[in-house]
Amino acid sequence: MKSGWYFMEGKPVLKKTISTFVVAGVLALCPLRSVARVPDWLRSAVQQPVKKYADNVSAVVLLSETETTVKENGETVTHVREVVKVLRPDGRSEAYQAVPFSDEARVNYLKGWSISDQGKEYEAGKNDIVEVSAGAGYEVYSDAKVKVVRIPGVDVGTVVGVEWEQKRTPYTFEDQWFFQRELPVERARFTLHLPPGWEYRAAWINHTQQEPVVQGNTSSWEIASVPGIEKEVEMPHWRALAGQLIVTFFSEKTKGRSYRTWRDFGDWYSHLIAGVRDASPALQAKVQELAPPNQPSLERIRSLARFAQKDIRYVAIEIGIGGYVPHPAGQVFSNRYGDCKDKVTILGSMLSQIGVKSYYVLVHTSRGIYNEKTPPTMGFNHVVLAIQLPEGNNAAAMPAEYQHAKLGRLLIFDPTSTVVPLGEIPASEQDNYGLLVTDDGGELIHMPLSRPELNRITRTAHLALQPDGAIKGEVKEVRTGSQAAYGRYTFTHQTDKERRKILEEFLAKMIGSFHLDSVEADNLDDIEKDLVIRYRFTADHYARKIGQEELAVRPRVLGEKLGALDTPKARQYPYEFEAPTLQTDMFEFSLPEGYTVSGLPPAAKASFAFGEYTSRIEHDGQALKYSREYKINATRIPAERIGELAKFFQEINRDERNMATIKKAN
């Protein structure tokens, strides 16, 4: 309730008083509806008894009903009704219901109601609906938008109802029914009406197959008591866990716009991109300049790959089908900018100029959404390139290589990443599935997983320990593979001050009061080489006094390998590591004069199939030497083996907190 004051004829009156008169006048002329027009389907949903849920469940979906009607011309109308009961204060956000739309998927109407636990009924009006720009946020422009309705009266105990209808003129004929989400769902129903002569194929993901109830050309599926997807640390993407039904529908009239197999999907995409790789004369000239014929073929490929990576600026402009169709290679070259598919397109075009074939690979940057069982379905968010290594090329095997039965050695390359060189794959794309689009259509391929030894951090430190507990010294960090990419991602495009700040934040987690004396980075821009970071620092009070003549020092000065694990609850989902890695620390502390080692912590050792951790500490009279090795072999640990991971982390935690003691010799 706002209050404010205006002056009216010299006397202050409440603003509300004025508005009351105005509103009253308007009401007299145009009476408002006295009762919200709550539909019967919502009223009846309110009557159903609500089960008991766990304390952390903020709301429950009592009913989720999706009905898709496909017209003869392929136009699709989807009608959705949802009923949500708010159980906790956090669930009040259910007052906001959003419907994405674009020029190809228009919202016919969007309505919302609520019924409070006291039975008061509310209805959202036109003023409760707004449109906001959507998109992922990185685009210069995207035509994706969202209509958001704020439903009034929503509080704990309220039942919220929302209904909308959307008319789509889809590029391909499929519906993705996500019946599982963060909130539990009591009852979900999907109904499909097809024109006579059409058929469909239904595929289930993360759920056992259900048979539909069929009546004429209408098929419907119903699911009950679907648990919500709870948040767990380092869990897979929710789409990799959620129960879904993918329904693809077919007609003779719409051939080429729906697919039974990945091969069909590849065909569809091949047609979509036909001609975009045609090179302009300027682009052809650039290829000659960058990759003269006298160079070895792999060097030529590398030069062109580097150009697409570095000299084509990443800019996304996505309008309608433009989200899938690249800009012509000549235009991308002329602008020197483009998004992932544009970069793949220009590189593919340039490679074809030197006689090297290459293929689009559609992927999702979150591992697990696509796997070997996934039926053909839209939902990729990224494109990379598979480069066919020329026959007779005897280049050594590379981590990014995929051996194809027909096409031979394919090198998976992502020109969008500016920090991963040719021959390697960004971590999120490793052990992931992508659609390889070939002349024969398409096929889902399992992209290679790198070995730990190729993704290394080797950290060495020489530190001088002072009698007052201070340490001073230098650290050298050598990074390779995905760890080099991560380091470059963090450090490249930063000013000197920003780099210092990043490193200061890193050190502050482990060392208290310190001064960073210098920071240097070698090969930041030369992504073919190892990334080397050197820094020097001084830390007061690092070693702690014990009594008068003894110091306690934590030998693990830098780097935290310990991962977070919320152990109190039983784990439901797998735990994910980004990529295999091997990380080695070797820290040497020179002792203050007259001091000798008085106590050492035990060595650490933990060995499991997914990873290993070992450490040891020793001394030679003048120096204390700590070394450890942390190795991760897998990207995913199943929930049933989380106990092993907990033991692994426990051993790391103990080692990272361990202390050694040194004492002044008598």
Binding site: M1, W5, K16, R313, V315, H493, F514, H541, L562, M659
Partner: protein, 651 residues
């Protein structure tokens, strides 16, 4: 700045020393200096990814237009981000004369020939916010990118304006101009630290300013609200009657003061309510406390879910036209409850008034900034025993005598004396206390397990009580557990077993946890090393070395008191309790000590900081202080297996 940097600036100054008026009229591209094309790095800003060679912002309140010009040298690949441009536009605004181009390092010019994309960022409730977006072609490290455009407001209203002087990259040369409406009085306010003032040409009706070499704005951690430090010039139109800050604050204060008096009025029902609340009490302070309690009995709608006017109507929440309505309806928002309390106090014979306060959470009050909404909250002032007591009855759970932290130590205007500013009292370290005590058992493998009791007092309790209003018991439990886990070392467990006084604002909010900290003590041969402080620091400490530019700022003064008892593992005895550590400044104090008694190790720790705002010159001593705090927190007590206890106490 290095000599090279100065040389660069001199060259640029020579090149760009064009009168702003000429530029504004011509709206043409400036000549390109060959030196700028050759530039590889900018020594005044080492490692910078880009530098703003020229920036112009011209506002015309006669023609109702705005003109922008930006020329940026891209120095690295990272600087290419400046090639993506977004121009925000309100409903009626249109964009004219948009030109943009890329100048390649060899001097080749690539014009931007496309049309910008128009994004509707928000549409609804009669508002439409759009953005014109475009990107420049062929941008490489070494390129110069530039664009200029003119905005037409689409109305003839006089808006508040500001010149943004400090950007996220170094600005070599800048030109600003405002052509104002000569029929109105224009005033401006420059951010402290900007050593140049705009020049007013009254005959031409223009204000303009040219600036050289303004550093990029680089915020620092724990600085006061950034808005108050980023260099800018704000403009206001004032009426002849309100031409000076003094008259502005006085006239508006008087205006609101009359409104308040009207709202409070003189109501029999209020007198009766005051009498009922006070009963037979005669002690003035106790009488006042009873009135305060009565005011806080009113249902406070500010802390309930937001309701639109329609929803208020549907839920039969009637408008409070005066304090009698607040009493009658039994509900009100925080300001209405404050006014109701002032009315009760007046009715009981207290001299009381409403005080408008500036919130220091998002900005620091500036008297010269003629924006009355800076005083955006209301509290009460009551004269009691010759002193003024500031009270905050409109904040739920705020006990008598406490103000919510963002309303402490900040500028305020007592509506009894409009136009005059006072400062609300600052809160001392006793006003925000966290006391932690624990009885824990250490196992031979170094794990610590037991019960932790936490008591939050003053601001610490108030903030948590207000947060709890947005959730339920399960949410409150999770919030408290998450907080304790955040204090404890990695992978520790904490489970809330009891919580009390969540709604008893005059008692500390207490919580009891079962905690488990694996690998807390470190095993070294036959000894266990135990760290003094079980808890991580509450507020990020000032540990970074180097010069400090901006003041250091804490939301409120605070105290932490810890008393931890650790039962030693069987067969172990304390060999060397940690040496007592202490540090002291005039406004901060720290002490940590450990002592052994039988099979128990007792650790006591106190940290207090009695201040919120420290000058950059105090940074070193604060850093040194927190360095000592950390040394004390990390100090070690030694336990030995199979050895008799050492000295009972080591101080």
């Amino acid at each position: 700045m290095s000599s090279l940097g100065l040389l660069r600036c001199a060259v640029l100054s020579g090149c760009l020393l064009l009168p702003g008026v000429v530029l504004a009229q011509a709206h043409a591209w400036l000549p390109v200096d060959a030196q700028d094309l050759k530039m590889k790095e900018f020594s005044a800003s080492p490692g910078a990814d880009a530098v703003q060679l020229y920036y112009a912002h011209e506002i015309d309140d006669v023609e109702h237009t705005e003109f922008f010009y930006s020329r940026i040298k891209v120095l690295t690949d990272g600087g290419k981000r400046h090639a993506n441009i977004e121009i925000p536009m309100l409903e009626k605004t249109s964009i004219n004369e948009l030109y943009a181009r890329t100048i390649l390092p060899d001097g080749t010019i690539v014009e931007f020939t496309d049309k910008p994309f128009e994004k509707t960022v928000f549409k609804g409730k009669g508002i439409k916010v759009r953005v014109q977006a475009f990107t420049l072609p062929q941008v490489t490290a070494g390129s110069i990118i530039e664009y200029r455009y003119q905005l037409h407001y689409g109305d003839k209203g006089l808006h508040r304006h500001r010149w943004i002087v400090q950007h996220d990259i170094f600005a070599v040369k800048q030109h600003f101009r405002l052509r104002y409406d000569k029929h109105r009085t224009v005033r401006w306010l420059t951010t402290p630290g900007l050593d140049k003032s705009p020049e007013n040409n009254m005959q031409a009706g223009t204000v303009q300013m040219d600036l050289d070499n303004i550093n990029a704005f680089e915020p620092e951690e724990q600085m006061p609200p950034e808005e108050s430090y980023k260099l800018q010039v704000k403009f206001y139109y004032t009426s002849p009657m309100l031409s000076s800050p003094g008259s502005y604050w006085f006239e508006l204060g008087r205006y609101f003061s009359r409104g308040i008096d009207y709202y409070i009025g003189d109501h029999k029902a209020i007198k009766q309510a005051a009498e009922d609340a006070i009963g037979q009490e005669t002690d003035p302070e106790k009488r006042l406390r009873k009135l305060y309690a009565r005011a806080q009995e009113i249902r406070n709608l500010t802390y309930e879910r937001h309701r639109t006017e329609k929803e208020q109507k549907r839920e039969e929440l009637k408008e409070n036209k005066n304090v009698a309505d607040v009493l009658k309806h039994g509900y009100g928002n925080r300001n209405e409850i404050t006014l109701f309390f002032v009315a009760l106090a007046r009715a009981a014979g207290f001299s009381s008034s409403v005080v408008f306060v500036s919130n220091r959470e998002s900005r620091i009050f500036e008297r010269e900034d003629l924006t009355f909404s800076q005083l955006d909250a209301e509290i009460a002032a009551v004269r009691l025993a010759g002193k003024t007591v500031f009270l905050d009855p409109g904040t739920r759970f705020c006990p008598y005598g406490l103000l919510r932290w963002m309303r402490t130590g900040t500028a305020a205007m007592d509506m009894r004396d409009p136009g005059t500013f006072v400062s609300t009292p600052g809160s001392g370290q006793d006003s925000a206390v966290i006391s932690r005590s624990a009885l824990l058992k250490l196992s031979p493998d170094g794990a610590l397990k037991g019960e932790l009791h936490v008591a939050y007092s003053g601001e610490e309790a108030l903030e948590r009580r207000l947060t709890a209003l947005d959730t339920d018991d399960a949410g409150h439990k999770k919030d408290l557990e998450d907080e304790v886990k955040h204090w404890l070392p990695a992978n520790a467990k904490a489970e809330l077993t009891a919580s009390a006084a969540l709604e008893k604002e005059y008692e500390p909010l207490t919580a009891v946890f079962e905690i488990e900290v694996p690998e807390y003590a470190s095993l070294v041969s036959d000894r266990l090393l135990v760290t003094t402080s079980l808890f991580q620091p509450q507020r990020k400490r000032l540990l970074k070395a180097g010069p400090r530019k901006y003041p250091i700022y804490y939301p409120y003064a605070f105290t932490e008191e810890d008393n931890i008892t650790i039962e030693l593992p069987e067969g172990y005895a304390a060999e060397t309790p940690a040496v007592t550590q202490s540090a002291k400044l005039p406004y901060a104090k720290y002490q940590a000590s450990a002592s052994a008694s039988g099979n128990k190790l007792q650790i006591e720790r106190t940290l207090l900081v009695n201040g919120i705002f420290f000058k950059p010159t105090q940074y070193d001593e604060l850093r040194d202080f927190f360095g000592k705090v950390q040394a004390g927190d990390d100090s070690q007590s030694v336990l030995r297996r199979g050895k008799a206890a050492a000295g009972e106490k080591n101080n």
